[in-house]
Symmetry: C2
Subunit: 350 residues, 2 copies
């Protein structure tokens, strides 16, 4: 059964879904578009789709088997529930909604109507993440003690509704939800403690810089830092364990590498060296020949895998990958991040 999509909200992301996200999904078709803006409806019609000015009309079309909710965040809930109640499966854009309480109503509507409900956490298929997760899972780093995930931009300003608190704007909801979803999908164990620091550096109404620390009961500590106004680039990923360190420079998934200590190092006794930091043995520069550089693993897959799985899950052929309970766990982290930033102290979680 191929995907026959009805789009709710024909903005930038909906265009991306149609042109990129669904590109390699066999037999998909976008049947119709609902939007509050007549210009968007007209655009959809000019592209060969049915343009709807009333949501119930689109939801009454029996040819549509899946709805995409790609509106500003504050109306995800009502639109998702309306589509589920009309018997449609639903893909909702991220962040799914602004509170766990609202999400529970969406999950209940999915269960009541026996319809698939998932969220477009497509960054589980980003190249850099696929590589970082492989490195983590492979054990090449030994016991990993710190994972650092960063996005530093220079643009400063956030745009449109993403700069408005009432729409769920800000970096925690916009990009944080992705990076936390990645971590929750990569690191085993429970999150015991969350601390966070939020700033409005260039956007007065929403957070455009945040740093959060998640402590796992396995001892792994995760640091996520995202900012729109950090003018010196830093690596996308930094993972360190007791057997090696991995760095991924950017989103490409091919720049960076893994460093380990070679057997040779054990044969060279450490000596005190005078450095610009003073005399030191522990921090003496390591002879390059005692460090071993390994390439990053290669990766396969990409963003279309999200929709391929949705397609197969609707048909009962595959387990759904982005599960509502996972999305609920991530949204819970976001709530604790806001709580920690507000109180100025760390907050317990799972």
């Amino acid at each position: 059964m191929a995907i026959k999509l009805g789009i709710i909200g024909y903005g930038g992301m909906a265009h991306w879904h149609r042109e990129s996200g669904l590109k390699n999904v066999p037999g998909f078709e976008v049947i119709g578009v609902y939007d509050v803006d007549p210009a968007k409806i007209e655009e959809a019609r000019s592209q060969g789709m049915i343009g709807y000015s009333k949501l119930e009309d689109m939801l009454a079309n029996p040819d549509i088997n899946l709805c995409l909710v790609a509106t500003p965040n504050q109306v995800h809930k009502e639109l998702t529930i309306a589509a589920l109640n009309a018997g449609k499966n639903v893909v909702c854009e991220k962040p799914v909604t602004l509170t766990v309480k609202d999400l529970d109503e969406m999950i209940a509507a999915s269960e009541r109507n026996h319809k698939l409900f998932t969220v477009h956490q497509n960054r589980r298929w980003d190249a850099d993440y696929l590589v970082a997760k492989q490195v983590f899972d492979s054990g090449v780093l030994g016991d990993v003690f710190t994972i650092q995930s960063r996005l530093h931009g220079t643009g400063g300003i956030m745009h449109g509704w993403r700069a408005l608190p009432e729409c769920g704007g800000g970096m925690v909801y916009d990009w944080g939800v992705h990076f936390i979803d990645q971590i929750c999908n990569m690191v085993p164990g429970k999150i015991t403690d969350i601390s966070a620091d939020l700033h409005s550096v260039k956007n007065l109404l929403v957070d455009d810089y945040f740093m959060t620390q998640l402590k796992f009961d396995t001892g792994v500590q995760v640091m996520i830092e995202i900012g729109t106004f950090l003018l010196k680039p830093t690596p996308r990923w930094y993972l360190a364990g007791n057997a090696g360190t991995c760095q991924l420079d950017d989103f490409s998934g091919v720049k960076g590498g893994i460093t380990k200590v070679s057997k040779l190092a054990e044969l060279i006794p450490p000596v005190i060296v005078n450095t610009p930091a003073g005399p030191t043995r522990t921090f003496a520069p390591q002879p390059p020949e005692t460090l071993e550089q390994l390439p990053l693993p290669s990766f396969s897959g990409g963003w279309s895998d999200f929709y391929k799985n949705v397609d197969a899950a609707i048909e009962g052929k595959e387990e759904l990958i982005v599960k509502p309970w996972q999305v609920r766990r991530v949204l819970g982290v976001l709530e604790k991040i806001f709580e920690s930033a507000k109180t100025g102290h760390s907050v317990k979680y799972e």
Copy 2:
């Protein structure tokens, strides 16, 4: 009045004081050395100093006007108090001692005997710190929201008593005490919250990796990360404000720079760009001509300034720079770091 020094504990650091720390201090002289190791006493004698096997003998020498305590940390307290009670001024190596309670006894001995007591927090004169502090103080970065201070080593193993908990070993006491002293001397305001994560990566008995976050009531957030087994180098300093970003690559104080956005950037409207991370406007690559690169400021001074100030403070000509109450504040932060790591949650401070 020139410094006439009596050294208590003639190990690696005492040698450094004699050969480097005191080098440019006019008229200084090392009169005597006390050590528990006969070989060290012999060495001191062969270098023209008086070698003492009994502390009270050295403290009875009226020519000595200053004692340096450079032993393992767990005996700093008793040796410092003995020297103060004998009427000597005292420079104690860092960490001054292991608890605030013990430090209070040392401060009381100083006040009771009306003798100068200070701690060798010489990294206030490190080149990188002198530059970072100048950048922070100058306002060139605007309102600074994050300061990140890092030391990543590859050696793994800590050596001698620095690897033993009963001697106050581990990275928090060894290097953390310096980096926190630097931050306390740079960032105004009170520290409201401290969270920390400690690991024993290559040293089973003490912390050899830690990351701590200090929140200031002014909104500045500080992150300090020190590890002995992080095999990818990262910059020594990263400071970001709403008007620019500064990076210092290493301890030299000359590598790195300041980046700001040029006036030109305001004339170029942001556009959505397709990147390996997907379509983005906020994180679109900035045209290089819209970024302005400024050099780091130059610095003057160095490690000998510590002893020059001690000399002048003993004579009443200058205010003591490294004040006991400052050292007490830093040691309080260290106690909270250990508490946070133990409880797994952040801890309130000032």
